[in-house]
Structures are given as C-alpha cells and as structure tokens.
Symmetry: D2
Subunit: 135 residues, 4 copies
C-alpha cells in the first residue's frame, strides 16, 4: 500500500509534465484532478476526449498504487470510456475511481469523471491493468 | 466528403497544439500519425496509453470527416481500447482507421495502432461517434 | 415511465422463453434475476459468460423501460462487460442496474452482477441503447 | 494447437446444448455459426443481442483452442460488442474471428458477425481471455 503523498511524489517524478494531481487515496479508491486550461479545449469550447481518458487512466493507476504499493510497471490492458455530457469549459476535471476487482494478475476499476462543482458525470470509464508478478 | 488536405487544414486550425497529422484519407478510412518525443514517454521507456488513445480518437475523427465532410461537432460517445504490445520508444505511432458503420446518427470505426516500421499492432481501438442532424 | 408489473408483463409477452425476471424497478434503476439451472453451466462448473451478458442487457433494457415507458424498439448499440469472479454454480444471477445518462437519443447504464447471497460482483457491464425518436 | 474436428468434438461434449458450430479453424482464426430459429428472435423480428454475444464469445474461444490447444479453463475477462445493423431474421449468424494478440497470460481477438449471405457486419466484438499458466 502507498499513501497519497507517496503516490503524488512518485507520479510527479515519473510524469513531470502531467497536468494531473492526486487529491485523495482511500481503500481501493482514488480521487484525481486534471487541471483545465486552454490547450485542453476542442471545437465547441469543451474539454477534449483525450483529457478525460488521460484522467481516467491516471486515476485508476493511482488507486492501484494505493492498493498494492508503488509498482511502476503496472500496465493498462483495456480502457472503455463512455462520454456522457459536455464538460464545462473552464472547470477542472475530477476523477472518482474505485477498484472493482483486485486480482493477483489483473486489477479492474471504474471511474466517474466530473466537471468540478457539477455532480452529473461527464464520462464513465472502466479499465483493466496487468500487474507484474510479485514475490 | 472531404479530402486529406481539407481535413489537415481543418485539424491544424482547430487543434493547433496537436502532435497528430493526417497521412491519408481513403473511402471510409484514414491513416494518422502521432509524432513521438520525450514528453510521450512513461516508466519503462514506452509511449503512454493516452498517446495511443489520442491517436485512435483523432484517426477515427479524420476518417469520419473524410466520409461525411467537415462536421466539427461530431462527438465521441464511446471508445474501447486494448493495449497489445509495448510500443517502441522512439518511433511515431501510426493509426490505421476503418469505419465499420456509417449510420445517420452514429458512426463506428476501428483502429489498429502501430509503432512505425513494425507490423504487429501495439493497440486496437473501437470508437463510436454521434453526428449532429444534417439537412 | 412504466412500473415493475407493466415491464414484467411486457417482457413475459415479448420474450416468453426468457429465464430472466424483473425483481424491482426504481428511479433510473432496475434489479433483475436470471434463474440458474444446469443448462447455464460451462467447464469448471460455473455460469457462462453469455448468461451474464444476457442478464446485463435485459436489466438495462428493463431500467430504460422503467424510465421512458414501454418502448419495444430501444436497441443495444454497445455492451462492454468485465468478468470479475467465478459465479457460484447453483445460485441465481442478480443484476443491479443504474442508468448514468438518459439522453434524447442515447441512454447509457451500468450493471453490477452478483451470485445471489454474495456481495462481491461477478461481472460489471456498461451498455448503450439507441432510442427511437419520440414525439 | 487443435484442429477444427478436435475443437468441434470438445465443444459438443462440453456444451451439448449449444446452437453454435465451428465451421473453420485457421492460423489465429476461426469461423463459427449460430443456428437461428424462432427462440432467438426479439421485438422487431431480429436476432437478439445475446445471440450475437454468445457467437462472438464462442468464436474467440474456438480460435484460442485452435491456437493453443484444448485448454478448457481459458476464461473471458472482457468482451466489448458494438451492434451495427439489424440482423436478418431467418439467417444463421456467422462469426469471423481473428486473434490480435496471443500473449502468455492474455489472448485478445476480434470478431465480425454477419447474417449469412450478407457481407455487411451486423456486429463487431473484441474479447480478452485469461489463459491458465501452462508448463
């Protein structure tokens, strides 16, 4: 297991250019945030799909690190995302992540993504991660 | 319908910061390229999942523009991606996109993603796009 | 909107051979049950994947009927399912379904599937349905 | 590796009630058939989604058996299916399956599903299977 602080330090070191931060780590769960600025906008003035996918992937990765400790080689094997509503243009994206299976080889989790301050999800994702064999 | 040149101009204007380019547009198909530089790397020295997702999404969007013309408000409703192999660290990502259904309201396509120069796919994605009503 | 009883009558008439029943209909939600008998078993003595997929699809369909009324031509456009744990061989499968977006043209929902009496999900699915234009 | 005949015998023994047959096994590929009769119909007179999902799952399973031999405990971990067109009511469903990654622990494949005699796919699926450790 790893704490929010340990995970934040690890991610800042491994992904120094990332616009995402880890707000909370809980039991089999994480809350992450993707800062939104003008580079994330697309036609129609909304946040792009890749920003939402990036947040979902990072959030599940953070929840996994919280559960099994700092395992840099966990890899995404599948991500399925549904885009539900147009995100607000000027609001950070918040990803609320929950692991639904923590197996020995595969970990699966789901993420609801929100524009900060609105409780209707803008997207929902489910991801699968392969975990390298542990001793 | 729109040509490769029209689509390249449209995307360059709409997404000026994008590292993706449109190499080819064909009947219900497109080939796109994501330039790979150091900012796309993640632990283990490979290209990140979000880079692959971005390329898949952009490639399908380009194939749709090629099919139905410049429709800036086509929106992704679902993207499912499987990560198959570790991409090569220093190679561009090539997305080969094919539409499998062009409906009035929904367009669905699939993408195989490659590290340039290797014919084994590094990822495979399927995406659904909602098309605004046309006259 | 339609009640549990109206939906049960509709489904029994439309799918007379179905092993699924609708236990509850709530706001944007449904609970359904797939009776498990020997024909649903596969190697290793567990419930088959198609049984779980059928339950997920039927459950989301029931939740949609509960939300928008009896609309026999709602059609599934996408279903993504993750299989999480081996179901118990002799237990009914319970699907707990929640709609996460009710749009004019598309409705999206998620389902957690359980072996009756065990609160760890055996599968999790997300489905999208296209709704015929309404007056 | 296993032949079409070995796989057909195995599946007939393991799933005696199955309406699916294996028409062909090739390198990393399979063609399967789901007989269509009246029990597979749903409102609107078409083949049900679960029939298509069952065919996709069985077809990928057959392609895997063809590739790695008779391994009864391969299990589906993820299936994502897009429904593309209304199947013809009285036609068998044909599933054309191709493996896109054969890893040591995970095998991933895609399936295009057709109503026999029509070359426009009625559905497209991608599935992931976990393989028990082999000696």
């Amino acid at each position: 297991m790893a704490t929010q602080q340990e995970i934040a330090i690890f991610l800042a070191k491994e992904f120094p250019a990332s616009p995402c931060t880890v707000d909370e780590i809980g039991p089999q769960s994480a809350v992450v945030r993707h800062k939104v600025d003008i580079s994330a906008l697309r036609p129609g003035g909304t946040v792009s799909g890749p920003v939402l996918m990036t947040t979902a992937d990072l959030g599940l990765y953070a929840a996994i690190l919280g559960e099994i400790g700092i395992v840099p080689l966990a890899v995404t094997t599948n991500l399925n995302i549904n885009f539900l509503r147009k995100p607000a243009a000027g609001k950070d994206i918040i990803g609320v992540c929950k692991l639904i299976k923590t197996g020995r080889l595969l970990i699966i989790g789901e993420v609801s993504l929100y524009s900060e301050g609105d409780d209707r999800p803008v997207a929902h994702a489910v991801g699968t991660y392969a975990i390298p064999p542990r001793d």
